[in-house]
Symmetry: C2
Subunit: 120 residues, 2 copies
């Protein structure tokens, strides 16, 4: 019941109806998940060709090089894709905080019941 996309060795991203695929970035040294965003084909190609993470900004509706204004670029070590090729995992070195709030990771709060707690 596995199709070619699931087990083959051809890159064939399954973009959604908006032409996007989910991309999650982890820190190469700590393993911490830094951020989650979306890529279109152009952003994925730019990420592969430049070695720096690019995404598609849904709010600004344009290609977005992470760190283009802050300088906090993500230098890519490895790019993986999941079984059904609708998600990307980027392993990267971060030049600075990945989050727009200034936190190292966007995932700086844990869920405790109905509330959130800061993670050290």
């Amino acid at each position: 019941m596995h199709d070619h996309r699931d087990t083959g060795l051809s890159l064939d991203p399954k973009y959604d109806s908006n032409g996007l695929i989910t991309a999650v970035v982890s820190d190469r040294t700590t393993g911490e998940i830094l951020m989650l965003a979306h890529m279109n084909a152009e952003a994925l190609a730019a990420t592969i060709s430049t070695g720096q993470a690019h995404f598609w900004s849904r709010s600004r509706d344009r290609l977005w090089k992470k760190g283009e204004s802050s300088g906090n670029v993500l230098t890519v070590t490895e790019i993986r894709i999941d079984c059904d090729q609708d998600a990307i995992w980027i392993i990267a070195d971060a030049a600075g905080p990945a989050c727009h709030t200034g936190q190292r990771s966007c995932f700086f709060r844990r869920i405790d019941g109905d509330a959130l707690s800061p993670v050290e």
Copy 2:
């Protein structure tokens, strides 16, 4: 320019137009990203209350307890949420392979240019 959702300590998930939020699961001991799926409010509540990962199956259009048929459940250690509360990070112990292909992680291939290579 930060709103309450970004920096506050109230759980207020930003579900998309289909009532879903993206959830990524990493292995507690190895840090490896195991899978990426989606949750609705019911799946998130079930994950919090049971301590085992639940998702919303978009293909079967129903609540899906990970491992309900395979036994490969994901026992949750910690749940984090990102700055704009539209993504969940679950840190879990996996009872077995997370991927339907039998691989430990769904992200078992890396992108090399236009092709994929198996990750050891």
